[in-house]
Symmetry: C2
Subunit: 302 residues, 2 copies
């Protein structure tokens, strides 16, 4: 493990210059260069199992609940009847695990580019890899943008659980290259998704941190506003992601969608029944409350 110094893994990237997050490593579980990326899995001292792709932390068992539950239920609970769900990416299985919990969901289709990620998580991280054993799930491997072009199905909700568009190209995190998810941050991807959404369909896409990537976020919001009548940005707190926060771009084909007020309301009791550690309707509503600096950026997009 290249970035493992004295038993610590350190995450550096030009995507977040001048800052680094480190986790103490107990045991390396798996390390492999796949066709698409460098895959690392380790048991950490205090964050459970951790997956790293091209040097960037993808999840830790300690805080993945925040990301997986929010990217899933911000969308599903904003749709009155989310029967058919497409997951693009999500190779760790966490989003599939969460989607399966929603009582309205009848069919789940997933397209992940890297089968090696799926296999690694099924083998070493059953707490997430369990998502792939859902009988409602049909799993494909391949490029998500290409899959969207080919499929003739339509979906009520599409969740894009992508890694960063740009990844580090060396151990020190000074150089970058396009990552396998680069195509999922492009304008034509957002147009393609609209074609495959059923009437009233909704998107939820990983959309980076407001503390680091305002230009990328505002550019994607602008792109989406030209395609969808309703576009919102929301965020959640995930300590092991850069700056401790990650955002979501939510779009709807239905002009009456109000993402800020969930149509399916889950209080603490409902959350407990579904084994939700993070999500509830209060935190759903709060996810759209922006700090002033970010609200101004979003309001000033022309």
């Amino acid at each position: 493990m290249d970035q493992n110094l004295n038993g610590w893994f350190t995450e550096r990237s030009p995507m977040w210059p001048g800052q680094a997050f480190s986790l103490k490593v107990e045991k390396i579980l798996h390390e492999k260069q796949s066709k698409f990326q460098h895959i690392q899995l380790f048991e950490s001292a205090n964050f459970g199992k951790v997956m790293v792709l091209d040097g960037a932390i993808q999840f830790t068992e300690r805080d993945e609940c925040s990301y997986q539950e929010m990217i899933t239920f911000l969308a599903l609970n904003s749709h009155p009847s989310p029967k058919k769900v497409l997951i693009v990416g999500g190779g760790d299985g966490g989003v599939a695990r969460e989607v399966a919990k929603h009582p309205a969901v009848e069919k789940v289709v997933q397209c992940e580019i890297d089968s090696e990620v799926i296999e690694a998580c099924k083998t070493y991280v059953p707490s997430l890899g369990c998502g792939f054993s859902n009988p409602k799930l049909t799993l494909y491997t391949g490029d998500g943008a290409e899959f969207l072009e080919k499929t003739d199905e339509k979906f009520d909700v599409i969740i894009t659980d992508a890694s960063d568009p740009v990844v580090a190209d060396d151990d020190q995190g000074d150089k970058t290259k396009d990552g396998p998810a680069a195509s999922l941050f492009k304008e034509d991807y957002y147009a393609k998704m609209k074609d495959k959404l059923a009437d009233g369909g909704i998107l939820s896409c990983q959309c980076e941190s407001m503390w680091l990537h305002i230009k990328l976020i505002t550019s994607l919001v602008k792109t989406s506003r030209a395609i969808y009548p309703v576009v919102e940005y929301a965020y959640t707190c995930t300590p092991s992601y850069p700056s401790g926060q990650i955002g979501f771009l939510l779009c709807s084909k239905n002009e009456n969608t109000n993402f800020r007020e969930p149509v399916t309301v889950w209080d603490l009791e409902a959350a407990e029944k579904l084994n939700l550690k993070y999500y509830n309707s209060d935190i759903h509503r709060a996810a759209f409350a922006m700090p002033s600096f970010m609200r101004r950026e979003l309001d000033n997009i022309k």
Copy 2:
């Protein structure tokens, strides 16, 4: 600078075992062992000026707005007329800077234990040290808990801007000792504050991260509930704090206080007039929305 490895400062502590946050250092501005703690100030590559006390980051210019504005206005905007404000701690000047912005405030008293911190911030970090030039401010140096016993004044709001109760005692962050703020996390301090609050008075106290310190938080909530009729926990996102998040304990002597709905509402326009980067009434309300795991902890306190 002991923890400066190849131009990076790394923050490790037994308060957050197995994780570390690092910042790239451009230039060391100041380093001194005061009577109370080890003080470090540096210019970082991407976070502006940074202050470190006993190895723990206290602020970075890039994200201090989140902490200073939220600890201040969650309290001040929950009080119908916050004329007299006491700040305990807050040696960097950031809270004094924010309190002075509130149009209702007539008098500010501050008691910081370490005059060396005040002098360092006045000299090297004018963006925070400017808080001390407020003509409404009377500044004392000394222990905050002792000050509360001696003063015969009463305050509408008391803000406790404390560092952590326990600090690292070595460079590797393996050993701990009580820090200069230890007395500000004890039960009798919360009782003393009540004596010095005017009728309807309100507290806002730094209260750590739900991802790291649930036992400390729930213990302080339990303590406070025995003393005050209204007690709430809230939080904000501050990337340079451990786990990217920090919380506040809010208490009121007035049983009718509803912290979740500010009595003074500041929209984006009002926030802009007061030069607020982070706070607005939307984010005020959202600060009280807890993830399910934390809501359960708070609801289960007996």
